[in-house]
Subunit: 498 residues, 2 copies
C-alpha cells in the first residue's frame, strides 16, 4: 500500500474519484489479456491531462514508486501486469481526437483513444489509417504505439511503427518531451519518436501522438483459396510476392484453425481443408480486379483445390472478420489459450509452419497456426489448461523450440505483440548480448531509477520461468501463476488480439 | 599525429597501404561538401571488413582516439569534418552488394556501396529502392543511412528511414551489433535500427544494412506547371494533396532558380516565370494518366499560366534532371553556395516561401529557393562569398531567421540533410531542452567516452558560430573558416546534393 501522504498527493492531482486503491480496483488492474500472469498494484490512477501525468510522475519519482501505463490491457505479452506493484496509470480518460488535418494528412490524438473509434473518424473524412490489430474494437492507440502493433494490413501498408511521426511523452522525472511533428521529413537529431514506439511503457508515458494518414482506397475485394496441403498454401504466398503483387491482406489459417473458426463464425469454410489463404486487395478498381485474377491463377497453379472471390463487399468483410475471430474461436476449446507471435522472412513461411507442426507433435500439445502469412508473422496458438502444470510445461517447451526455429530462419521472437514480460527471457536470442547491453543502457538513460514498467523487456532471470516444480521455476512467479490458474482467469478470451 | 605504436597497430589491421597520414591524405579528408568547415585529422584508414572496423575501434577506444566515419563526404551539414582530429574511417572499400533477395524483397550490402550503383542493380531485377538524394551519383548508402537521406521521391515513397530494416554496426568499444533482419514486422525490443538511422556516425560505425525493396512501377510520366506568382504555385501543391493524389515527385523552383537552371541545363524553361512545379507520377499506366489529367486541371484552376506534360520519357527525365541540377547550377553564380534544408508541414509551403523572400530582402542577401514542395522540404540557397565576412554574417542571420520561421510554423531545422556540425546550435530549437538532454544521454549510452564523431549533433557553444569578429564568434572556428575561404574551397559545387 502507498503511504498516506503519497495517496493524498495523488488524489490532489486527479481528484478523489480518479485515484483508487480499494481491493476491487487493485484486482481489476492486476492482469491483462495474457494468460497466467497476475500481480497486484498498490494503486490505480486515471489522469485527464498531460499536466496531470507530469505531476503524477514527479510524485512517483520522489517516492520511487513504479508506474505501469495501461490502455485497454488487451496485450498478449503481460505488458501491463504490475509485476513490482506501484501505480497503474490508466490512460482511457485521455481519449480525445484532437485533430484530423486534411491538408497535411495527419491526425493528432491523446493516447487513450480507442483504435476502432479512431479508424471510423478518419474514414469519415475519406482518409485511412491502415494499422488494424485484431483487438482494435477494444484496444487504444496508445497501446498500439507502445507495443508497435501490427495487424492484417501490414503487408501492403506497414505497421504502427510506419505511421507515428510525432509524440508527446512524459519522462520518468516528470519532464514533458515533444518529438517530431506534422512532418514527413525530419532528421533533427536521434529518432526519439521511433525509439518510443514499441518501447512498451519502459521509457516514458505516451500522452499524445501524431500519425500519418493516407487516402482511403476506393475499392477493395477479398478472396479465399483452399488447399489440401500446407506446403502448397505456403508456396502460393511466396509466388504472389515473387510476382510483384502486394495484396492489402494475405492471411493464413491451418486446418485445425479452419474447423474451429467455421464452427464459431459459420461462413461456409470447408472444414476438411488443410490450409486457407484469405486474401484482400484494395486500390483502384481495375487494378484490384487485375491483381485478383493474377492471384487466382497463381493459387490454382500452386495447387489450390478451390478459389472463391467474394461476390459482394459484405461477403469479403465476412471472410476477414472470420479470420479476425480466430483467437476468440480457438479460446473456446480449452480453458487456457496461449498465442505466440514468431515471425520469419516471408520466404520461410512453409518451413516454419511445418516446423511448428513437428514441434507440436514432439511435445504432444495442440497447436493451431494462423497469421499474417504475407509478412511472415505467424500466430501458433496452444489450446491448453493452466491447471495442468505438466501440460503447461510441455507448451512452454514447444514455444521455446518455436522461437529457436524462428531465429534460426532469420526471424524474430515477436512480430507485433511486443516483448513485455512473457518474451523477455528470449530477447537475447534475437538481439544478442551486445543488443541487450545497449538496450539496458538506453533504458537507464531514460529511466535511471527503473520506475517505468519494471520487469518488462529485460529478463529478471536468464532462464525461462515455467509453471511447474522444475528446477527452472522461479517460486514467486510460479505461485502467482498457480493462483491465477486456480481462479480460472482467462483474459485472452475477451480480447481477440492477433 | 598519432603515436608510433598506434600507427603500427592500425597498419597491422588494414595493411600498410590502407592507413595514411601523409599531408596530402590528411588535407583530402579534412573537409566535406559543406562550405566553410575544415579540420585536419591525424590519420585516414580504409577498412575492408567488419572485423577490421571492430579491431580499429578497439585500438581507438584503448587510446581515446576520435573516429569519424565517412562515405563519399557529400553531406551538407559538415557531418564528417574531423573537428577533434583523430581518425577518419573511409568506408568506400566496403562496397559489396551482398544480396538482392527477390523472395523477401530485400537487399543487403556493405555501407560503402554507391547509391546510384545500388539503384541500378536493384532496378535490373524489376525491383525498386525509392530514396534518391540528389547526390546519388557520388554518395554512399552508408552516408544516406547515417543522415537519413531523403530525395525527390519522398512524398510518395518516404525516405531512407522508411526502408532500413536491419543493420550491422560496430560500437565504440569494438563490439559488433546486429539489429532487425529480413523482417517487415519485428518488435523485439527497442528499435535500434531506426535509432541508428540518422544518428550521423555519433552512435556506431555502420558496416552492413538490409533495406526493403518494392516492385518497380511499370510506368512514369512527368509534367511541368509554370506560374506567374509564387502563392499560386504553393496553393497548387496543397490542392493536389487535398485531392488525395500523391505524386511520386512534386518539386518546386522559384523564379531565380529557374533562370539559373535554364542557363545551365538548357531544356526550355521559361525564364520569366516566378515559380515552376515539376511533377512526376508513377504506377499503373491508366492510373498515372488519370492522376496527371486531374493535376493539370488543378494547376490551371489554381492559376498556372502553362502546363506541359512530357511527350516522352526522355523529356520527363530531362525535367527531373534539371531540378536535380539546381544546386550545381546555382553554385556557378558566386564563389560560395550555402544550401539549407528547413522543412514545414506541407500546408505551410506558401507562407514559408514568402517568409524566405522577406528575410532575404531584410538582410540584403541573394537566396534562391527550390525543393521538395510535396513534403514541405525546402532548400533556400544563398549565393555568397566566404571571403566577405560581413556578407557571410548577413547570410547566417538570414538562415537563423529562416529556421525560426520553420519552427514557428510547426516545422524542423532539417528535413533530409542532417544536423551534423552546422545545425547543432539550432537543434534545441526543435527538440527542446528535454530533447537535448535525452539525446545526450543516448549518446553517452552508446559512446561513453565521446569518441564517435565528436562535435556533431550537440552544440559546443550555445550561440551560433559566425564568421565575423562579432561577440558571437568562436575564434578557432573563425580561423578555420577564413583559412578555407582564402583557399577558395567550394566543395558544394562538386556535389549536387539537395
Amino acid at each position: 500500500m502507498l503511504a498516506q501522504p503519497v495517496r493524498e498527493q495523488l488524489r490532489a492531482i486527479v481528484g478523489e474519484r480518479w485515484f483508487r486503491d480499494d481491493a476491487e480496483s487493485l484486482v481489476s488492474y492486476s492482469y491483462d489479456a495474457t494468460p497466467l500472469y497476475q500481480s497486484m498494484p498498490d494503486g490505480v490512477i486515471f489522469p485527464s491531462s498531460t499536466e496531470e501525468v507530469s505531476a503524477i510522475m514527479k510524485v512517483c519519482a520522489a517516492h520511487r514508486i513504479p508506474v505501469v501505463t495501461r490502455g485497454a490491457g488487451s496485450n498478449l505479452c503481460a505488458g501491463v501486469v504490475p509485476l513490482h506493484g506501484g501505480l497503474v496509470m490508466v490512460m482511457t480518460r485521455m481519449n480525445r481526437l484532437i485533430e484530423i488535418d486534411q491538408d497535411n494528412l495527419t491526425a493528432t490524438f491523446q493516447t487513450g483513444l480507442n483504435t476502432k473509434q479512431f479508424h471510423t473518424a478518419v474514414e469519415e473524412t475519406g482518409l485511412f489509417y491502415p494499422p488494424d490489430p485484431s483487438s482494435m474494437i477494444i484496444c487504444t492507440m496508445g497501446g498500439n504505439i507502445a507495443l508497435g502493433a501490427g495487424g492484417l494490413r501490414g503487408l501492403k501498408y506497414g505497421t504502427t511503427k510506419d505511421y507515428v511521426i510525432g509524440l508527446e511523452a512524459v519522462l520518468a522525472n516528470g519532464d514533458i518531451l515533444r518529438t517530431g511533428g506534422k512532418l514527413v521529413k525530419d532528421v533533427a537529431g536521434y529518432d526519439l519518436t521511433r525509439l518510443l514506439v514499441g518501447s512498451g511503457g519502459t521509457l516514458a508515458v505516451l500522452t499524445e501522438a501524431t500519425v500519418k494518414l493516407v487516402p482511403k482506397p476506393d475499392y477493395r475485394r477479398a478472396m479465399v483459396a483452399i488447399f489440401a496441403d500446407l506446403p502448397s498454401a505456403a508456396r502460393t504466398v511466396s509466388q504472389i510476392i515473387a510476382n510483384r503483387i502486394t495484396p492489402c491482406t494475405l492471411e493464413f489459417m491451418d486446418g485445425a484453425t479452419i474447423k474451429v473458426v467455421e464452427d464459431y463464425a459459420k461462413i461456409g469454410l470447408p472444414t476438411d481443408a488443410e490450409a486457407i489463404l484469405a486474401i484482400e486487395q484494395d486500390g483502384e478498381e481495375s487494378q484490384v480486379e487485375r491483381d485478383l485474377q493474377l492471384i487466382e491463377q497463381i493459387c490454382k497453379s500452386a495447387g489450390a483445390i478451390q478459389v472463391k472471390v467474394a461476390a459482394t463487399p459484405e461477403e469479403g468483410a465476412k471472410v476477414m472478420e472470420a479470420r479476425r475471430s480466430a483467437l476468440a474461436a480457438l479460446s473456446r476449446l480449452r480453458p487456457t489459450t496461449m498465442l505466440e507471435d514468431a515471425t520469419v522472412p516471408r520466404s520461410k513461411i512453409a518451413d516454419m509452419v511445418l516446423e511448428i507442426q513437428r514441434i507440436a507433435t514432439k511435445y504432444d500439445v495442440q497447436i493451431c497456426t494462423f497469421g499474417h502469412a504475407g509478412d511472415g508473422n505467424l500466430h501458433p496458438t496452444a489450446m491448453t489448461d493452466a491447471r495442468d502444470p505438466e501440460e503447461i510445461h510441455r507448451v512452454e517447451k514447444a514455444f521455446e523450440e518455436i522461437f529457436e526455429a524462428a531465429i534460426r530462419m532469420g526471424g524474430t521472437i515477436t512480430g507485433e505483440h511486443g516483448v513485455g514480460h512473457v518474451k523477455a527471457p528470449y530477447l537475447e536470442w534475437k538481439v544478442g548480448a551486445s543488443g541487450i547491453d545497449i538496450m539496458k543502457r538506453l533504458k537507464a538513460a531514460f529511466d535511471p531509477d527503473g520506475l517505468l514498467n519494471p520487469g518488462k523487456l529485460f529478463a529478471e532471470t536468464r532462464k525461462r520461468i515455467v509453471f511447474t516444480g522444475s528446477e527452472e521455476a522461479a517460486s514467486q512467479e510460479q505461485g502467482q501463476a498457480q493462483a491465477q490458474a486456480a481462479s480460472g482467469t482467462k483474459a485472452g478470451e475477451a480480447d481477440g488480439n492477433g
